[in-house]
Amino acid sequence: MKENIISVKELCKNFGKFKAVDRITFDVKRGEIFGFLGANGAGKTTAIRMLCGLSYPTSGSGTVAGFDVMRNGEKIKHHIGYMSQRFSLYDDLTVYENMKLFGGIYGLSKMQVERRSVEILNQLQFKSEINTLVGSLPLGWKQKLAFCVASLHRPEIVFLDEPTGGVDPVTRRQFWEMIYKASSEGTTIFVTTHYMDEAEYCNRVSIMVDGQIKALDSPAELKKQFNASAIDEVFRSLARGAKRGE
């Protein structure tokens, strides 16, 4: 039985009277691809921020990569990688400058950054672009590179917040193959997406509505439970019941 790399119980985050995240309880196993779905405003971003050590929960308990989410936010940050659609790399730095910057932030030595960068660029067949400004790269390339940069320090978990929005269908699939590969090498992937076909690529999926997790299982089990032919239908039937907007 694989160990849990994320384990949270009754996690809450209130903003004044507003319960952004309302008693969520779940585990994520090491090496798992975990899909974190929910409508806009369901509380996903607030939940991810707590799991990444960026904000402390109002109440509840749990650990991420072995560190307490109530107390050790700073330690959590060292053991995770993060990328989002909105922010991933600096447009006005070159590919290599971005790698050096993020490697430095994650505490890698110059030697380590150099070695890892070459490895990554070879793997992406992207060595010729080492001195290209990131801003001039196509979005799909940027996102693949960003995933590698978020994994530069070999984190145990990588959080991906809508990593493939707007990306073409071919590159979107290449991106998911990188996720599969990372997962098969033991990295845990925690991912949000608005593409419902991508939910099917996950080992397990949770669906958040109004701050709570309303469903959590493998895509196949969820479809069986909801008598649906695709995750899209499961998502719709749950999200339609949402009381609150964003």
């Binding site: 929910g38 806009n40 979005l139 073409d168 269908p169 193959e177 599969y180 098969s184 419902m196």
Partner: protein, 304 residues
């Protein structure tokens, strides 16, 4: 006979060495919902900005509502509604103030064209004193749609109205568009979500500044003639890499719950199933399947 709502003839646009648009030609009929489907960077927004007379093209010509985009740009602007990809209302004005502002620009009032806007406006009316910047994504989108409809345009241009919006709000937005279509509007709408293509009367697939194909959604997928199979089982990543090594497999890629296999004419599904099982993969299911818009897009991208 009235002219088509939009006629585009060989429109091109370059940014330095980059060909953002490379000879785009298509028409949008009266009362048609026409979808421009393609990823980020395909040239969708550039085409929109040329058609709504915000920027000039480098070549080709186009007519909107029967008027030339160069010579009649002033008249065109009174006849079209445009919702840009980026939220472009005034964040520090309230919902009501934004609507009144856009109405004043076109010398109309909200009341004058209330029938057209009412079904959408009623959903945001409870928040009419809230500043636009404080609205949720879905509500901003509805306000922007109201503002683009305020002067009762003939042709509506919607540039990625559903990007970043969740699946439920997206389907609600499409319901609104189909209501507007019933009222006689012609609509050009772009989206990176290929599953939305089926809502359109016709679609154009666009990538790298070029149109890959134009047809009805059914017509597009019916043109996919290669044998297509879906394979699934335990350890999907392993199945993907193993399937690709097979000789009669032209392409294999993840496609939701299964991987799709584009096969050659000599492909034998029973043989592949057996091969995968011999290599230790369990619960293998392998069936013939029907192509979707994404299958077509992937194929056309490879041959582009």
């Amino acid at each position: 006979m009235r002219q088509d709502a939009i006629e585009i003839n060989g429109i091109s646009k370059n940014y330095g060495a980059l060909k953002a648009l490379d000879g785009i030609t298509f028409n949008v009929g009266r009362g048609e919902v026409f979808g421009l489907i393609g990823p980020d960077g395909a040239g969708k927004s550039t085409l929109f900005r040329i058609l709504v007379t915000l920027i000039d093209s480098d070549g080709g010509s186009a007519k909107v509502d029967g008027m030339d985009i160069l010579n009649d740009y002033h008249s065109i602007r009174n006849k079209i509604g445009y919702m840009p990809g980026k939220f472009s209302l005034y964040p520090d004005l309230t919902v009501e103030e934004n609507i009144n502002f856009f109405a004043a620009l076109f010398h109309v009032t909200l009341e004058q064209n209330y029938d057209l806007i009412a079904p959408i406006y009623k959903q945001i009316e409870p928040f009419k004193t809230r500043r636009a910047g404080k609205l949720s994504g879905g509500m901003k989108q509805k306000l922007a749609l109201c503002c683009s409809l305020i002067h009762k345009p003939d042709v509506l241009f919607l540039d990625e109205p559903t990007t970043g919006v969740d699946a439920v709000s997206r389907s609600e937005f499409w319901d609104m568009l189909l209501e507007l279509q019933k009222k006689g509007l012609s609509i050009l709408v772009s989206t990176p979500y290929m599953d939305e293509a089926s809502k359109c009367n016709r679609i154009a697939l666009i990538n790298g500044g070029k149109i890959l194909d134009i047809n009805t959604p059914d017509g597009i997928v019916n043109n996919f003639k290669e044998p297509l199979y879906a394979v699934s089982g335990t350890n999907m990543y392993g199945i993907l890499t193993a399937t690709r090594q097979e000789k009669e497999v032209v392409d294999c890629y993840p496609f939701g719950a299964a991987h799709h296999i584009v096969a050659s004419e000599n492909f034998n599904p029973e043989f592949l199933k057996q091969t995968l099982e011999e290599r230790g993969f369990k619960n293998i299911e392998l069936n013939k399947t029907k192509a979707g818009i994404e299958d077509v897009f992937i194929k056309l991208m490879h041959t582009q």
